[in-house]
């Protein structure tokens, strides 16, 4: 039943915090309505109808009542609780990192079904232990793409010439790389990006531009993965204007 007083949607549980003594304020990432804060009454009580449903990273079907200030949860049914992720600290730290990225990059109440699907795919990959490292990188690129801040990896940001196959210096402030002819000494805070990493990022950029789905069919060696993760972390904290809090735990258990 959907009326103007209630709405029903699929959602992922991104975060929660105490709200009064026994309630929780849940950050839901709904498929149809985007990110929505919702009060789950008495969810801290063990016998509550919400306590198991509102666990972090759960995929749920929810019925939500519109409130004057805050919406509240009427029903919450688990579709997938991702037990595989939750029983492994390394996987859990990755899932929570992805989820924190969404909290920071997606505006409240702005539907974003592509990012919803990307996060869901990422969680499914973690659960199935399917190309975990590549899935993490792919998810982060999807997120920055659908947030409208995907940098340019294929051509020089100034003259549009194809970039040579070599290590380059990327500047977050211009969202790309200057070729040797266009190098600008006034640019600050450049990040070295290895030739192999750039090759992979170009591959993904082409996939995204042709709307093809990435099948994790590229082999990425350990060193390149490390470099990609380092690069993405710098770029994501630059665009979000803050460090993700969950990176500390991510680094501790991986």
């Amino acid at each position: 039943m959907v009326s103007n007083k209630t709405y029903v949607t699929e959602a992922l549980i991104l975060n929660h915090r105490d709200f009064g003594e026994t309630d929780l304020l849940i950050t839901l990432f709904t498929k149809l309505f985007g990110k929505v804060p919702v009060v789950a009454r008495r969810a801290k009580m063990p016998n509550s109808k919400f306590s198991s449903g509102v666990q972090l990273l759960n995929r749920v079907q929810v019925s939500i009542g519109r409130g004057r200030n805050l919406d509240h949860m009427n029903e919450c049914e688990i579709v997938d609780s991702f037990q595989g992720i939750k029983s492994d600290l390394a996987l859990l730290s990755k899932g929570l990192f992805s989820s924190e990225l969404v909290v920071n990059f997606i505006q409240d109440r702005t539907p974003n079904i592509q990012v919803f699907n990307a996060l869901l795919k990422n969680l499914n990959d973690l659960e199935m232990q399917n190309n975990i490292e590549q899935s993490m990188i792919w998810f982060q690129l999807q997120l920055i793409n659908f947030s409208g801040v995907l940098p340019e990896f294929i051509v020089c940001i100034n003259c549009n010439e194809n970039l040579q196959r070599m290590d380059h210096i990327f500047f977050p402030s211009i969202g790309g790389i200057n070729c040797a002819n266009c190098s600008d000494i006034n640019l600050k805070d450049g990040v070295v990006i290895l030739e192999e990493s750039l090759g992979f990022l170009r591959h993904i950029q082409r996939m995204i531009r042709s709307s093809k789905s990435y099948l994790f069919d590229k082999n990425i060696d350990e060193n390149t993965l490390k470099d990609l993760n380092r690069f993405l972390r710098i770029y994501l904290s630059y665009t979000a204007e803050r460090q993700m809090k969950s990176t500390k735990f991510l680094d501790l258990v991986n």
Binding site: N15, R17, D18, G20, E21, T22, A43, K44, M45, P46, N47, S48, F50, S51, S52, G53, V54, Q55, L56, L57, K86, S87, L89, L92, S93, L96, F97, S99, E100, V103, K245, S246, K248, F249, L250, L252, V253
Partner: protein, 201 residues
């Protein structure tokens, strides 16, 4: 909410009440005006008891429970089982377990759970202190009685991983406690059964 009509002092009192758990803006207002109408000696008693609690309370230097003597009564009670430590997130969890009357060993209060999204990692909890105790005390069993939510279970997993090589027996409360929800709100009978029927991981 419209508070017009309250003097700045009254508004401050309302705001302070509003910080308390379970107190919404309406209740905060009600409490504040109730207090104003009270005889002066009663409100003085209240203010004094709040201050004296704050001044006399410390964390036990062994188990980190809230106490007015250090070590706390539980740590200095030699009749309790000295070989078992039950690890809980909050002092209120310890109190709930004590009320159940089903556990007679020692405790260790972590003061929270690992919560990566809130930037809370092992370093922000009394985990190092737990390992120090395990080194110095003669402990045979550690019960991981953290909350049955993602953060509580992650905390238990983290401690369990670090303990794996020590040979200390590690147990968790038996099933019967429902997923999610805070341990402190579980009913005494269920909690008692869960702690008595604890099982190895």
């Amino acid at each position: 909410m419209d508070y017009s009509g309250a003097t700045p002092q009254v508004q401050r009192l309302i705001d302070e009440f509003g910080r308390l758990p379970g107190i919404g803006p309406k209740s905060a207002q009600r409490l504040a005006y109730y207090l104003i109408k009270m005889p002066e000696e009663i409100s003085l008693n209240l203010a004094e008891s709040i201050l004296s609690v704050k001044n006399s309370i410390v964390l036990c230097s062994i188990c980190f429970h809230i106490t007015d003597t250090d070590p706390c009564n539980l740590c200095s009670n030699s009749y309790r089982d000295q070989t078992t430590i039950c690890v809980v997130q909050q002092p209120l969890d310890l109190i709930a377990l004590e009320k159940s009357g089903s556990y007679k060993g020692k405790y260790h209060v972590l003061h929270g759970a690992i919560s990566p999204i809130n930037g809370i990692g092992p370093d922000n909890l009394k985990i190092k202190e737990l390992f120090l105790r395990l080194k110095n005390e003669d402990i045979d069993e550690v019960i991981l009685a953290t909350n049955l939510d993602v953060e509580g279970e992650a905390t238990a997993m983290y401690i369990n991983n670090l303990l794996a090589s020590t040979g200390i027996k590690i147990t968790i409360p038996a099933r019967g406690l429902s997923v999610g929800g805070d341990l402190q709100y579980a009913d005494e009978a269920t909690l008692g059964r869960a702690i008595q029927g604890r099982q190895g991981i």
